[in-house]
């Protein structure tokens, strides 16, 4: 059992003359893991997050961080001991990127030179070019601003990171990138991260554990994402997790056992003329570019999603279903073509996985 870092003990937040925003919340957040608060708007997930660093004061109940009651510490000092990333980057427009990142170390009395040096290191950590340090927030793209926001939160090396829908305002491609980078960072830093989102997909991708909140500020289910998708605790969780939960659950199953077939390759679609079967068009480095149809003159047909070796069953099935040829393209770690997989075989593997799970329980 993991050590608890943050504990809520029957915490309630009630604003004047309304329903409670958070109602009797008791939960324990593991040290060094990512815990995701997810739920529809108005479920109290952000309020719960903001009570951890006293941006919101609870009406009753106590919250402890590393065993200490947060209400005993001066608010400003408590907040400096936790990183905070929000939806809009919240960067100070009048300060350069470096000075923004250096904010908390400077508040802690670190010298300007030392704080800037640390900020420069962090630019690299979050994957930004050092030349961006002298820019101002208004000169950055949304994704870059969020990266700076993460760097700022990490600057004082706090053990706890609070993230309030940090990736919900960026486009899906950038969001996917930022999620993967957060996971990479977390593997290196092992912070205790509390992450708020309304997106169940994001929750299952990032969370070691997911807390599903229901409207009215009640905790509906608190479990590993795999379990939430496989066995929702009640109708609310089931409906929130949504229709695709069966498909999403495949993310938690490895597709290592799927059979990979050889496939015909050509270096240009014209070379496929006269072929009786679909062929993968590859570049000189044998990276797939698309498909050539057995029918003449169709040219290069864009392919579906790629299945990288080691990916989940979900990726495998999607690769097969999204391919115009009915075959999912498999690539290795360097993006080079390995072969193809077939939808019916992926489905058979899914069935097999299910049987194994049944036998195990």
């Amino acid at each position: 059992m993991a050590e608890a870092m943050i504990e809520f003990q029957s915490v309630t937040k009630q604003y004047q003359g309304g329903q409670p925003a958070v109602d009797g919340l008791s939960m324990s957040i593991d040290k060094g893991s990512i815990t995701v608060f997810v739920g529809p708007s108005g479920c109290g997930k952000t309020t719960s997050l903001r009570m951890i660093n006293r941006m919101v004061e609870p009406t009753s109940g106590t919250i402890t961080v590393a065993g200490k009651d947060v209400s005993n510490e001066p608010a400003a000092q408590l907040r400096r001991s936790m990183g905070y990333v929000m939806q809009s980057s919240g960067l100070m427009p009048h300060r350069s990127v470096l000075d923004n990142i250096a904010t908390v170390p400077r508040l802690n009395g670190v010298s300007r030179a030392a704080a800037r040096k640390r900020a420069e290191e962090l630019l690299d950590v979050v994957g930004l070019a050092s030349t961006l340090g002298k820019r101002y927030p208004s000169q950055l793209s949304g994704g870059q601003q969020q990266r700076v926001g993460v760097a700022r939160a990490l600057a004082a090396d706090p053990p706890v990171l609070l993230m309030d829908e940090p990736f919900s305002a960026v486009d899906p491609v950038v969001r996917d990138e930022l999620q993967q980078e957060l996971l990479r960072l977390q593997r290196e830093l092992a912070k205790t991260i509390v992450f708020v989102t309304h997106d169940i997909d994001e929750a299952t991708v990032l969370g070691d554990k997911v807390a599903v909140f229901a409207v009215g500020g009640k905790l509906a289910q608190y479990a590993a994402p795999e379990e939430i998708l496989r066995a929702p605790a009640n109708d609310f969780v089931a409906s929130f997790v949504g229709r695709d939960r069966g498909f999403r659950h495949l993310s938690f199953n490895a597709a290592d056992a799927v059979r990979i077939h050889p496939v015909k390759t050509v270096e240009a679609p014209e070379l496929a003329a006269g072929n009786s079967e679909w062929a993968v068009v590859v570049d000189a480095g044998s990276r797939p570019l698309g498909w050539a149809s057995p029918r003449d003159g169709a040219g290069l047909i864009p392919g579906g999603s790629l299945f990288r070796r080691g990916d989940s069953l979900r990726r495998a099935l999607d690769a097969a279903l999204s391919s115009p040829a009915g075959m999912g393209v498999v690539v290795d770690e360097h993006g080079r073509l390995v072969g193809v997989l077939k939808a019916d075989e992926v489905l058979a593997l899914i069935e097999e996985t299910r049987h194994k799970r049944e036998d195990a329980t």
């Binding site: 660093n53 941006m55 400003a76 919240g90 208004s138 870059q144 498909w291 047909i301 864009p302 392919g303």
Partner: protein
């Protein structure tokens, strides 16, 4: 009948009118002194109150109503009232003008602070800034641009209005207006008005330069549209499901 514009020009360019105790140079200095004194006292009252209201949001409604009511007061009436109540001398009219200058300064300061993006303020607080640090390190520098607007309006208003103290009678460029009126000397009146207008414009230009110097650099980029830079990611490796193929 001679042309009033030619006469005004002649009045303004006569070197005798510029020197001496009643000369233009002296009056100009007096005018600046009165204006500066009024602004200094008004700012000492309005800026702290504006900062407090802008930061906390407390007393906003009361301040807006109060400032509005003050603005409605007739200038000359207030001036005479203060002179009657407090006697002659420099300070009674200065206080009357302070009362008229506080509202635009207060409104400008308050508007500047409350114009700052609330998410930036929220983030600053969440980083662990104390309330004073939030006010002076985040709200003040970011609200400066809007505040400057209020300050410049107030300064122009004071420079124009300070003319009325000549009615009491005190010095300043307003002397030429009141004396000219009594003496039916219209070139002198027009010349005086032109001098007041020119002074106001000159001071406003100085403030515009000051604004440019004091405004944080990051904000001036922002206000001029800036050049957003993309594609500076050093290590933004494409993650997740790459979509295959497609013609580039």
């Amino acid at each position: 009948m001679s042309d009033i514009f030619t006469d005004t020009f002649a009045w303004l360019t006569d070197p005798d009118h510029w020197s001496g105790s009643g000369g233009i140079a002296t009056r100009l200095l007096e005018h600046l002194e009165y204006s500066g004194l009024v602004l200094l006292i008004a700012a000492a009252i309005a800026v702290p109150v504006g900062l407090f209201i802008g930061h906390t949001g407390h007393g906003r409604v009361a301040a807006v109503a109060f400032a509005g009511a003050l603005r409605a007061l007739p200038t000359l009436g207030l001036l005479v009232l203060f002179a009657l109540l407090a006697g002659s001398g420099l300070m009674p009219p200065v206080w009357a003008l302070v009362i008229l200058t506080v509202p635009p300064l207060l409104a400008g300061t308050y508007a500047g602070i409350s114009s700052v993006d609330p998410t930036v303020v929220d983030a600053a607080r969440a980083m662990g800034m104390t309330e004073l640090q939030v006010l002076f390190r985040v709200e003040l520098p970011n609200g400066l641009q809007v505040m400057f607007g209020g300050i410049r309006t107030a300064v122009l208003q004071v420079i124009a209005t300070v003319s009325v103290v000549a009615y009491l009678p005190l010095g300043g460029l307003g002397r030429y207006l009141f004396d000219g009126l009594v003496l039916q000397d219209f070139p002198r009146m027009l010349g005086g008005s032109l001098l007041i207008a020119a002074l106001a414009i000159a001071v406003d230009l100085v403030l515009a330069v000051a604004e440019r110097i004091f405004l944080p650099h990051g904000l001036s980029i922002d206000s001029r549209g800036g050049h957003k830079a993309a594609g500076d990611l050093a290590a933004a490796a494409p993650a997740g499901a790459a979509v295959q193929g497609g013609t580039a």
